[in-house]
Symmetry: C2
Subunit: 324 residues, 2 copies
């Protein structure tokens, strides 16, 4: 009996690494997870990852055959097969695909988390059938996957779409990258905490935010306070949405996409973020586009999306090779 | 004897329309021009255009055969074959390709001037052999042609790349589009005149600019004054270059191109603009790109470039159809 091809997707995050085996319909058959952050050295991480993969494959029903491995990681470079030293992993630049190929004689590919999210949305999510779209991942930082004519936009070195570092407020907030006014200093979980701090300082209104130290604050808490009617927490979402909306107006002028899909932790606030974002978009949109761009929140499961995107990456890669 | 295929390129500008017949090597064999602006009604414009084309074709040596017509126009829409009502033409939305097809039974295509410039640069200019590049046309306004994986980025409706209207200074200068802070309110000929006016007003330095009324000022005059050592005219170029450089840093983050090619009237100032632009780029560039993006001024003849780009447009179109 011919075995059914399945794919292994690995989602490397700053805190945890999740992995799963999916079939061609995006059904996750088995999955696992382990902490990334305890591994300060990449070779130790690889050792555990290989063990976890073998444990997972041992569980795999004999009717399935693993066809390839896809990896989603911050600063994952599709062209080079590398992870290019993102701050939150602390491994420096790593030839990740080559290191994994020592252990598995299979097609392996890597891309960054924004691109993986876009691949997942195109095959299983809100972007099915779309040729031109942008996925923005809004969490601790901002990532993006940009699709032009049905293909991911990689650019010359595979480093296109680092939209979190587009300067949206020249001379604005200091960013971890050393520059000022980057999108992710405003539209991210830490950016929202900074906004809340400023709005609280500028206001005379009573707010639950006054009882939380900066180090204890989180986007989740601001969300909770906003839901309980806290005015400054609500203003924080309004400001964040306004900056996001203005940025999306610039994206539409540049790329003329069919849709912008919002993904990641910040979108758990739903309409608290989406309504001011759409308002901000409309206030800044150039008046030449007849079709209204669709601004959507992803409906894909946050924890499965990058695994599925990584599976789509390697599935596409294998089918491209079959065609040539 | 088999005739050699040649192409007619038409460059519709707000002031003048230029047309020329070019061979497959970009050699312009014959050319003509007439004023656009006297025609307030598009049908009158088409009547003169058709006459001019016939006059040109009468001169064409019998060894050549016209294979198709390409058109470059502000707000020319490749997908629709339309010119979508740019302010400086005043025709409203026009089904230009269909109107021209009544007179010529040939393949005809249209695109906007930025895209035509990019096609010209890719075949004959600084972008030969490049797959990822951006051409910025800096003149009365700002246009762009963005190339991703060797193909023009059109987006969902053919309206991608209207980069002159990217908001670079939120709440900044009022733009003709009704919004504020658009790139072209800073980095364009009128934008430079506005900058000169502000710098003059803020300064106590003596300047030749003090003797020129706003309505008489031009980028050319500022260029002339800067060359003669006028401090405020020089500061005008420094400021303009700084905004352009910062914008290019955002473009590189978004598109990761191999090169950005500057084109159009403003580039006649050469290093007066280029040096502060490169300085502004470096001050704002994200530090992850190993290959330095090339920032170049086009070497194509300004008046021939759009004609050639329009010829490349229709040549590509015909060869695509032959392949399918």
């Amino acid at each position: 009996m011919k075995k059914e091809s399945v794919y292994l997707g690995i989602d490397i995050g700053g805190t945890n690494t999740a992995l799963g085996v999916a079939d061609r319909n995006g059904q996750i058959l088995i999955e696992g997870a382990f902490p990334t952050q305890k591994h300060k050295i990449v070779s130790q991480f690889i050792t555990q990852l290989v063990d976890e993969i073998h444990a997972l494959l041992d569980e795999l029903n004999a009717q399935f055959s693993l066809a390839g491995i896809g990896v989603a990681a911050p600063m994952g470079n599709y062209f080079q097969g590398t992870i290019e030293g993102p701050v939150n992993l602390g491994w420096g630049e790593v030839a990740f695909v080559d290191m994994l190929k020592i252990h598995f004689d299979l097609p392996i590919a890597i891309t960054n988390d924004g691109n993986a999210a876009a691949l997942g949305e195109m095959k299983y999510g809100a972007a099915k059938g779309m040729q031109n779209l942008i996925v923005l991942t809004l969490g601790t930082g901002v990532g993006a996957g940009i699709v032009v004519n049905g293909e991911l936009l990689y650019g010359e070195e595979g480093l296109a779409g680092e939209l979190g570092h587009v300067i949206v407020r020249p001379g604005g907030r200091k960013c971890g990258c050393g520059r000022r006014g980057c999108l992710e200093t405003y539209v991210s979980a830490p950016g929202m905490c900074r906004t809340a701090g400023i709005l609280l300082a500028e206001s005379t209104e009573k707010s639950r935010l006054a009882h939380v130290a900066q180090s204890e604050l989180s986007a989740r808490k601001i969300h909770e306070f906003a839901n309980s009617g806290d005015a400054i927490a609500n203003q924080t979402f309004e400001f964040t949405g306004a900056v996001l909306g203005e940025f999306m107006a610039n994206l539409v002028i540049s790329f003329n996409p069919e849709a912008i899909i919002l993904f990641g932790g910040l979108t758990q606030a739903g309409n608290l973020l989406l309504i001011p974002a759409i308002k901000g978009y409309r206030a800044n949109a150039l008046n030449i586009y007849k079709k209204q761009v669709k601004i959507l929140i992803s409906k894909l499961n946050n924890s499965h999306s990058a695994i599925l995107g990584a599976c789509v990456l390697i599935e596409n890669e294998i089918s491209k090779k079959l065609q040539t």
